[in-house]
């Protein structure tokens, strides 16, 4: 049985449709990502799953519970980290943790949790005195304080420096390793690629694709891209004559080629035949980034037509 099941979710604010038609299901123990451009309806979807908003259409079930009708019970077993949830400046970290722990039937050990999140040294510090990264980690600690079976993390690493971001990712993996199902909202490709077992790509209130990060990347053709400086001139026509080459772009002495998954092999053997050396060669696989751009912009042109 899926842990989270969203079926034809629809939500409007006045006349603006925030979520048009979103369906996906999250299996136990996975890190499931919701990825999409700003304003795609990610946060609204998560708010409906968290019981913060009632859906206008469709249904949402989390551990078999209706997030709105059964919200008190839902929040016993589902931890939520919100994008912005400021706490009173003058409360200390430990006081905040104790307060929230007192709401749960089976709270986590506060000291263990603070240590795991690297906040043990800040237990006596007031909320106001915490850095952005520490506040974010406290928000995660609060999502975990009730020993949840599911955690929802919304824009987890926004505003964190790269170092803190990597640390936070490690933490999310630890949480998953303890058997907690994670729903992660993000607009960072790198984060989605690194953490998520599966992803739902959302654009304009609709699910564009649900797949593994690698599966999504392959959808754009699984092509390759390469850049090099030829040791002797080579014409565009020669390159384009290869079936593997799709585009040729010149940046001064540099040539950038995009094409199929056989691109590099085809081009290097052509160059070898002409005894041209590819200097400063760099090769890239199409990434989730490319999938994101092509899948979401595809939607855009489809809508405009």
């Amino acid at each position: 049985m899926p842990v989270i099941e969203v079926t034809n979710l629809h939500k409007e604010y006045g006349r603006v449709t925030a979520v048009d038609d979103v369906s996906f299901s999250v299996e136990p123990g996975e890190i499931f990502g919701i990825l999409g451009p700003n304003g795609a309806g990610k946060t609204t979807t998560v708010e409906c799953i968290s019981g913060l908003r009632a859906a206008d259409g469709g249904s949402v079930r989390v551990l078999g519970l209706d997030p709105v009708a059964d919200r008190d019970e839902l929040h016993q077993t589902v931890g939520v980290q919100l994008q912005e949830a400021g706490l009173p400046d003058k409360l200390q970290v430990r006081e905040v943790m104790r307060l929230f722990a007192s709401f749960y039937r089976d709270p986590a050990d506060i000291d263990v949790l603070l240590r795991r999140l690297g906040l043990a040294g800040k237990a006596q510090a007031r909320y106001k005195k915490l850095s952005g990264g520490q506040k974010q980690r406290l928000a995660i600690a609060l999502a975990l304080v009730g020993n949840p079976r599911v955690v929802i993390l919304d824009e987890l690493t926004t505003g964190l420096d790269p170092h803190a971001r990597r640390e936070t990712w490690g933490l999310v993996e630890q949480v998953r390793d303890q058997g907690v199902t994670v729903l992660l909202v993000t607009h960072f490709m790198e984060e989605a690629e690194r953490l998520c077992d599966r992803l739902a790509l959302i654009d304009r209130g609709r699910v564009v694709a649900v797949d593994t990060p690698a599966g999504l990347a392959e959808r754009t053709g699984g092509g390759q891209r390469m850049r090099f400086r030829p040791s002797a001139p080579v014409s565009d026509a020669e390159l384009l004559a290869l079936p593997e080459v799709e585009t040729v772009t010149r940046h001064g002495a540099q040539i950038e080629l995009a094409g199929t998954s056989q691109l590099v092999q085809a081009v290097t053997s052509l160059l070898a035949r002409s005894q041209i050396i590819a200097e400063g060669l760099r090769v890239e696989q199409t990434s989730l980034d490319d999938a994101f751009v092509s899948l979401t912009s595809h939607m855009e042109t489809a809508k405009e037509n």
């Binding site: 049985m1 968290s50 019981g51 913060l52 079930r61 551990l63 078999g64 519970l65 209706d66 009708a69 059964d70 919200r71 008190d72 019970e73 929040h75 016993q76 077993t77 939520v80 919100l82 912005e84 949830a85 400021g86 706490l87 009173p88 003058k90 409360l91 006081e95 104790r98 307060l99 929230f100 007192s102 709401f103 749960y104 039937r105 609060l142 009730g146 079976r149």
Partner: protein, 261 residues
């Protein structure tokens, strides 16, 4: 039909909805802590004590005066000063606290916890009520036992008027508390209402020295009505009805307007 779909392994034997007793006291303790750390919070208790001490130390304030209906200045000012803490907490502390919670999205944090955010509001009002009650008792004891002011004859009526008066101003204070997103906005509504009540409670001029029209208007202002109940002016049922009216109107308006975000 939701119950049918609940995974029995996941669902507890009994659902415990919302706020537990333990959670409530934890929230109340949080509000107390926050008030203790707010430099201005204890002014609400200290200021009336200081004022009463000044009045109580003036010898002439204890002589009965004809234009106060045979009562002394101190007799007249004990209930007025006792009204200050209830008014300050209801009109400024309550809306200010809710505005700052709303401003920082703290209310959303509670919305995703098992405690309904209403539980937090209930804990806040309880702490403020305890604050107000403590201050009123302190002022009345200090005024009568230490400085020798006369207690009103109808104690039952006075206690119920004070209690209902507090509920009425809390209900009105709940209106800015329901909507204000900044402290300035909360004070914009709360402070004028507080000053109005201060005035008709006789803080600036004793009620007995106000023109007749003003005295009549005062009967329809919450703490004006409470003062009349204290001094035994007019019909008690009318004063209690005025207070009940504010409670109902404020309660309905704030329930209608209330926003968690």
């Amino acid at each position: 039909m939701t119950a049918m779909t609940v995974d029995t392994a996941a669902a507890p034997a009994r659902l415990r909805r919302g706020l537990t007793v333990k959670g409530f006291f934890a929230l109340a303790a949080m509000h107390l802590k926050l008030m203790r750390r707010e430099p201005g919070a204890f002014v609400t208790i200290l200021l009336p004590v200081v004022l009463l001490t000044i009045f109580g130390s003036i010898a002439s304030a204890k002589t009965p005066q004809a234009d106060l209906g045979g009562r002394s200045v101190l007799d007249v000012y004990v209930p007025t000063i006792a009204a200050m803490t209830p008014l300050m907490v209801a009109c400024t502390v309550l809306p200010g606290a809710m505005a700052s919670f709303r401003e920082r999205n703290t209310l959303r944090r509670f919305q995703v916890s098992p405690v309904p955010p209403g539980g937090m509001l209930a804990a806040l009002v309880s702490v403020l009520a305890a604050f107000a009650a403590l201050s009123v008792v302190l002022i009345v004891l200090l005024g009568t036992l230490v400085f020798g002011a006369k207690l009103p004859p109808n104690l039952g009526a006075v206690i119920s008027a004070f209690a209902l008066g507090f509920v009425a101003v809390i209900a009105v204070g709940m209106v800015p508390a329901a909507v204000a997103t900044t402290n300035t906005m909360a004070n914009g509504i709360g402070i004028p209402f507080m000053i109005l009540n201060f005035f008709f409670a006789g803080l600036y001029i004793p009620i007995a020295q106000m023109p007749h029209v003003m005295q009549t208007i005062g009967e329809y202002v919450p703490f004006g009505a409470v003062m009349d109940a204290w001094s035994g002016t007019g019909a008690l049922w009318q004063h209690l009805a005025v207070l009940a009216g504010y409670t109902v109107l404020g309660g309905l308006a704030s329930a209608k307007l209330f926003r968690w975000e």
